[in-house]
Amino acid sequence: MADIKNLWQSQKQEEPVTLENVHARAGTFQRRIRRRNLIEYAAGAVAISVFAWYIYALPGLMVKIGSGFCIAGILFILWQLHRRIGAEILPETSGLGLIDFHRRALARQRDGLRTVWKWYIAPVIPGFLTMTAGFYFDAPEPMRAAVLYDLFTRLVPFLVLVTGYVLFVNARGARKLQKRIDELDDVK
């Protein structure tokens, strides 16, 4: 058995990594994280600008209030993203044993998927419902039936389908992750 161990350990190191390489790569990694954060905040800023414009341009108090709720919801989502990204692999956690490290990473992903509706979908629902009610009540009386018909035949089914699909995919992903966590618990 010593032969195969010797053979394994006799492999030559081809490209020793220098400290300069490490510093440069760590810097690139940090820049990539900053860029990713910037893109997320920029997307949030665009969405907030749109709803701010609604407050300014659209008539009707309820629509304006709904737009305000949407802005609050987006701010909450951005805060959650910031918080969750911040909880990604830290140097401290990389010193855990493989099983614990793996389990922690999988559990974090699973919890993210299980609770996505709470922090990614639910925050914008009050704003959406208020705006929808605003569109209905702000419409002239004879037009309300048409507005209602439009909402329930187009917008609501579309949103229900998209939300349902997102929830289904996330629940399936969470189940798969749980299975892998159970496998890790079994070997420990």
Partner: protein, 171 residues
């Protein structure tokens, strides 16, 4: 800890365990370009970890934990990563094949690495640490596996290696 101290600790660890880290990357990643990236990622993880290393475990344990975790993250992020099999499954599959002659060292190493890549993460890690000559207690410390589980896995690793590379001799 200041940056100079972090750098010094990293340099010392990299000088001591650099070859083992490269062997780990070779075992985990078959693609040459991806492997170079992985080696660098492992070193970056090690350098970052040195900022918080507090000597609560030995340097060797810490280095192997950090390196194996970085390698596991790489494998998890890989698209359509193979699920891997347990040692015992590979063991059973091997029984039908019987011992084979290995022409040269290079071929033996390639076969060994292919075998490691086919294993589930904890099993592959035990085999790699065994090949790096860590004893059962040290392997348990690095992996977080219970001593009994480590002993069983090492026994299977030894049997598998013996059958595949030493014509049935166990040792």
């Amino acid at each position: 800890m200041d940056r100079a101290e972090q750098d010094a600790r990293y340099k010392s660890a990299a000088a001591q365990y650099g070859p083992a880290l490269e062997r780990l990357a070779r075992a985990v990643e078959a693609d040459a370009a991806e492997r170079r990236d992985l080696v660098q990622d492992i070193h970056v993880a090690l350098w970052r970890s040195m900022a918080v290393f507090d000597n609560r475990c030995s340097l060797r344990t810490w280095v192997f934990r950090v390196a194996h975790n970085a390698a596991a993250s790489h494998a998890m992020a890989r698209r359509r990563a193979p699920k891997g099999v347990a040692i015992e499954e590979l063991d059973l599959a091997d029984e039908a094949a019987g011992p084979e002659e290995i022409a040269g060292e290079r071929q033996a190493l390639e076969r060994l690495m292919a075998m490691i890549r086919a294993l589930k993460a904890p099993d592959a890690q035990v085999m790699l640490l065994y090949l790096e000559d860590l004893d059962a207690a040290a392997i348990g410390e690095v992996t977080g596996l219970k001593p009994g589980a480590v002993a069983v896995k090492i026994h299977r690793v030894k049997a598998l290696l013996a059958r595949r590379f030493e014509g049935g001799r166990d040792g």
